[in-house]
């Protein structure tokens, strides 16, 4: 009988392995393990065995039944898995995606935000001021004489009440110093207006980034370090700098910053920013307005800087015409 069991087991395992689908496997299960099945029949014959043989043969029979069951389960799982896999066969995964619809931030906003993030790492806070400014905030307090050419109606937009559209974000320096005592460390992105004829490189309106740091012992070296760090972060470590002495009424000494970097097309010096040490006359003008001496020029020094984001974005992204920035053309906006 033992031999009979062995033979049946070998045969059964082979048949299980050969089952091609679940129905064949089920038929086999009934034939072997069902009522009157072949293994079941062998179990029924246990009664015929002697007392000595019963435990040994019984054990063999149980082991055989277990291994047949296990083999059937394994085969069943394999057949199910194979069937599931077949269901996914032939799917063309190269078909286009569905539902992807992402807009884009304006390139100037993107550049502005990069700049803001860099300055924030250096401890600058943001400041703000109105587009419609008084002459005092835009010019007088910034040491710009009443007959300065920039104040002419040919160059500056005026409101009927004598105020104007700020010609630079430097007016925010004054707005900030009016109500804050040193230390002051701010940046201010914003719109500025000049009465320029519109062409590929000029708009009557553009976006500037202004910066100001006033404290005890702020030096020209700090100005240099701050701008060099900022522009290296923006353009990369290869940026080279040339601080060219220049003239602005509200800084003394004043510089224009020329930069050469691969991110700017490399090769040539590009005029990128204006900067300088705050002119003591600016502190004095604000003190007079405040009615105190919170900005004592003997005690405090400061630096200020400004640069145009439009021009920078044009150079960095190789945009040939500044008007593309204000056209609102989605074919342009979706490139950034």
């Amino acid at each position: 009988m033992e031999a009979q069991i062995q033979t049946l087991a070998t045969q059964a395992l082979a048949e299980i392995a050969a089952c091609a689908d679940e129905s064949q496997l089920e038929a086999l299960r009934v034939r072997l393990l069902g009522k009157g099945g072949e293994l079941t029949a062998l179990s029924d014959r246990m009664r015929e065995l002697s007392k000595e043989d019963k435990p040994r043969i019984g054990k063999v029979l149980n082991e055989t039944r277990a291994s047949v069951n296990a083999a059937m389960e394994a085969r069943n799982a394999a057949l199910t898995a194979a069937q599931e896999t077949r269901a996914f066969e032939g799917v063309d995964v190269s078909l286009p995606s569905i539902g992807f619809s992402q807009g884009a931030l304006h390139p100037i906003t993107q550049l502005m935000d990069r700049a803001v993030q860099i300055f924030r790492r250096m401890g600058f806070a943001l400041a703000d001021g109105p587009d419609i400014e008084t002459e005092w905030h835009c010019f007088d307090a910034l040491n710009t004489p009443a007959d300065h050419p920039a104040r002419n109606e040919a160059d500056t937009f005026y409101m009927p009440d004598g105020r104007l559209l700020r010609t630079h974000t430097s007016s925010i320096q004054i707005r900030t110093l009016e109500h804050m005592a040193p230390p002051v460390r701010i940046i201010a992105p914003g719109a500025a207006y000049r009465r320029d004829e519109v062409d590929a490189t000029h708009l009557a309106q553009f976006t500037q980034m202004e910066g100001l740091y006033v404290d005890e012992d702020v030096t020209l070296g700090d100005l240099r370090g701050t701008l060099e760090f900022f522009f290296r972060e923006l353009f990369g470590e290869d940026a080279e700098f040339r601080f060219r002495p220049h003239f602005f009424p509200f800084t003394e000494p004043s510089f224009e910053v020329d930069i050469k970097a691969a991110a700017l097309g490399g090769g040539r010096w590009l005029e990128i920013a204006g900067c300088g040490m705050v002119d003591p006359a600016v502190f004095e003008a604000v003190n007079l307005r405040r009615g105190d001496s919170a900005l004592d020029p003997e005690r405090y020094t400061g630096f200020a800087f400004g640069f145009g984001l439009d021009r920078l974005a044009m150079i960095m992204s190789q945009v040939p015409d500044i008007r593309l920035f204000t056209d609102g053309d989605q074919r342009f906006l979706s490139q950034f």
Binding site: L95, Q330, R331
Partner: protein, 790 residues
């Protein structure tokens, strides 16, 4: 300001070539914007006269010329040009000349005819980029004159002079700067005529003229200027007129003092400086008549204005070929005054350019003395006395004549240099720099000469030191300090978050101009109280936009015309109104075209409508957004008020089809304009945890047949008013109407709601849910008169 390198070398002996000098000046703040080579100096190229010209026997397009080059024996030259005639003076390259491009001139044969050189065009000599035919010389040019004398080689630097440095608007001024930067010495100045006593006075009726002088000359002979004078003026962009006028320009370019020459015989009576009378006409040298105002300063004789002070002389008293007596004006006028008149009349000149920026009073007599020397040398002019006058008490003429120039005392502390610049500069170096710039050491500071009107304070002297030393001397600092975030920081972050959410909603950010046309301002929602600029540049930019939609609608139209099918634009920016708060921050949105990108699984997608817009707004603002009906407007056929937490924050709607068509937009176009300021205020709220439900929810549907006019909100209000404690959510899953009236009667609509019930303490039984649901259904049907459908 154009500067001749040759001229600078005549004044200061420096070694640098043009490129290194340009670098040196640029580094010191005198930006060199261009370097241009002028003239040429090529050996064996001389002036020659064409004696004869005959057809070449073997070539149709060539001629055989005989030319006189002053050597005594005429040369035979084969020439291809046609623009000359016999007798013309031209440039001849003799054998041995080497023209630009390594072109060697040799004796040779051209189509079998001997040619002993080449007649040249301007381009072949490097005098011009492009030219046609031969360069024809002045008939007075002596034959044999070398090219280098006719067109002296020079380099012209184009300098950007900042408005604080009018002292650099002359060659002497630039030379002074070069001397300071190179440490090289100043050569002796050119000839000046020694001063005599004044022969009279000029009446000055305006404080705006601190000093006015006129020097008289007799026996003047007008002629063309010698070529050295003419060439140099022309190289610097000044047209040569005649010897007298050229001398005035020369002296201005040399010393910075503008001069004007009158023909003495055309003047009537004494000159005076006065204000014009209102409406007084003045015919200027440019041939135009200007109507003057009482604020314009003029030089007048008995007949009226003969010059617009500091800007331009008059046509009636101009020096011409018949002039024999000259009155030479040298003066100083108030810079602000000249600027105002020049701008008002739209008339400027080299002279007004200098007066506007400031002319050194100490240079007035020096300039006219220098001119006197040149007039004697080049026009046989004999000085016959001079007159001067001063408006106000500001100028000590006597002291000026003695060469005593006014100086200013400015203090300077060495420690202040360190505290402003960040590193010390040694006392010896400071002394060297300031001395080289023409300042002299005084007690507790420095004496500043009058030509440096920009140096009035300690910080101005420190600026000079920083400029000359160079910023590299001061180590880059990396100081920072902690800055608390400001209100502007919070606003910025909030606005950036809104922008990013809008991008996530598939929108593209536009940044439109804030100055718009009247039409654009009105075409949007139509605001009153708009702000306008007083002096618009053109009619496209007159109004400060009252809404961001003004520009967005225009941009949408441009996109439609460019063939963009799905327009999804937003802008976050400033708007303006003549109200208590003038400047606000608005969000604008325009959606046109399909709500989602059509794709291969569903080729047709409905256009975005008001409800897509509602979803987009909620997504951008990150809060629930409610709409409330508004009367239709000129732009919006379907208009709604936008509410956030019960507060009105803006307007939205669908544009009338006619308005959409007018912008070339097809299909549904929805827009929104949201005022953001009230949504931005206050610090960011931190969310608080609410326990998540642990027991299962049960949903029951409620199908209602309601009159068309009944709103979803009315149904919601009734359901909410019941305050059923187990009700957790109400979801509308279907709205159905049937125009045929078959499935739903006309005038009614079918609404399908799914109501979710849940208890946070236990699992609900079916009976509890059914009881609650039935109660709610009854309330809705009885209170709203709707019918429940099973």
């Amino acid at each position: 300001m154009k500067a001749s390198l040759n001229w600078l070398r005549e004044i200061v002996d420096f070694e640098q070539d043009a490129a290194s000098l340009a670098q040196l000046l640029t580094k010191a703040g005198v930006e060199v914007e261009g370097i241009e080579s002028k003239g040429a100096s090529i050996p064996h190229v001389v002036a020659a006269q064409v004696l004869s010209s005959e057809q070449h026997p073997n070539a149709d397009r060539l001629s055989v010329c005989r030319v006189d080059d002053g050597s005594g024996s005429p040369l035979q030259i084969v020439c291809g040009a046609k623009n000359y005639k016999v007798g013309d003076k031209v440039l001849l390259a003799r054998p041995g000349a080497s023209l630009p491009g390594n072109f060697e001139i040799r004796v040779g044969k051209l189509r079998g005819v001997d040619s002993e050189g080449m007649l040249c065009g301007a381009d072949e000599l490097g005098l011009a980029e492009n030219s046609e035919g031969l360069l024809i010389l002045d008939p007075a040019t002596p034959v044999g004159t070398p090219l280098g004398e006719l067109f002296p080689a020079d380099t012209v630097l184009d300098l950007e002079i900042t408005p604080n440095r009018p002292d650099l608007l002359s060659h002497e001024g630039i030379a002074r700067e070069v001397s300071a930067l190179t440490g090289r010495l100043w050569k002796a100045s050119q000839g000046f005529v020694p001063e005599t006593d004044a022969t009279g006075a000029v009446a000055i009726h305006a404080a705006e003229c601190p000093l006015y002088s006129v020097r008289h000359f007799e026996g003047v002979r007008i002629s063309p200027s010698p070529s050295w004078l003419r060439q140099r003026l022309e190289a610097l962009g000044v047209r040569s007129i005649n010897n007298v006028v050229d001398i005035t320009n020369w002296v201005m370019l040399e010393t910075g003092q503008p001069l004007h020459a009158f023909d003495t015989d055309k003047l009537r009576g004494e000159l005076q400086v006065r204000f014009a009378s209102e409406g007084e006409p003045f015919l200027a040298l440019d041939g135009k008549t200007y109507l003057l105002s009482a604020a314009d300063l003029v030089i007048a004789d008995d007949s009226g204005p003969v010059a617009l002070a500091g800007i331009m002389g008059g046509a009636s008293t101009a020096v011409d070929a018949g002039t024999t007596r000259v009155s030479l004006e040298s003066a100083v006028f108030d810079s602000a005054h000249i600027r105002r008149t020049s701008r008002r009349l739209g008339l400027s000149s080299e002279s007004s350019h200098r007066f506007e920026r400031g002319v050194d009073v100490a240079g007035v007599f020096r300039g006219s003395q220098r001119a006197a020397a040149l007039l004697k040398e080049l026009a046989q002019g004999i000085a016959s006395g001079w007159v001067a006058g001063s408006g106000g008490e500001r100028v000590d003429v006597g002291a000026l004549l003695m060469g005593l120039t006014p100086v200013r005392h400015v203090g300077l502390r060495l420690e202040r240099i360190t505290s402003l610049l960040g590193a010390p500069v040694g006392e010896a170096r400071v002394e060297q720099i300031l001395t080289a710039l023409g300042l002299s050491r005084a007690q507790d500071g420095w004496e500043v000469p009058s030509h440096r009107a920009d140096l009035t304070r300690e910080v101005d002297l420190i600026e000079e030191i920083a400029r000359v030393v160079g910023i590299e001397h001061f180590p880059a600092g990396t100081r920072a300090h902690f800055s608390p975030s400001s209100e502007a920081d919070r606003r910025y972050d909030h606005l950036m978050q809104l922008r990013r959410s809008a991008v996530g909603q598939g929108l593209f950010e536009a940044r439109n101009l804030t100055l718009v046309s009247e039409g654009m301002a009105q075409a949007a929602l139509g605001s009153e109280n708009v702000l306008r600029v007083k002096n618009p540049l053109n009619e496209d930019q007159v109004v400060l936009r009252p809404e961001v939609l003004s520009g967005l609608l225009d941009a949408a139209a441009r996109n439609a015309r460019a063939g963009v099918k799905r327009i999804r634009l937003f802008e976050v920016g400033r708007t303006f109104a003549q109200e208590q708060v003038e400047e606000r921050t608005h969000l604008g949105v325009v959606l046109a075209g399909s709500a989602r990108t059509p794709n291969w699984r569903s080729a047709t997608v409905a256009d975005a409508d008001l409800f897509d817009l509602k979803g987009a707004l909620a997504g951008i603002l990150n809060v629930a957004v409610e709409f409330e009906p508004l009367p239709a407007s000129a732009l919006l056929g379907l208009a709604v008020r936008v509410l956030v937490e019960g507060k009105a924050v803006g307007i939205a709607g669908q544009i009338r089809p006619s308005e959409a068509r007018a912008r070339d937009l097809s299909g549904t176009v929805v827009v929104a304009e949201i005022a953001l300021d009230s949504l931005l205020s206050g610090p960011k709220r931190t969310a608080l945890y609410v326990e998540v439900d642990r027991f299962p929810a049960v949903t029951r549907d409620m199908a209602l047949l309601a009159p068309s006019g009944l709103t979803h909100q009315q149904i919601l209000d009734v359901l909410n008013a019941a305050q059923e404690p187990l009700l957790r959510a109400v979801e509308l899953f279907d709205v159905f109407t049937d125009p045929t009236g078959e499935r739903v009667p006309v005038g009614s609509k079918s609404l399908g709601y799914s109501l979710t019930y849940r208890c946070s303490q236990r699992t609900l039984t079916a009976n509890e849910v059914n009881a609650a649901h039935t109660k709610l259904k009854q309330r809705v049907t009885t209170e709203l008169g709707v019918q429940a459908r099973e």
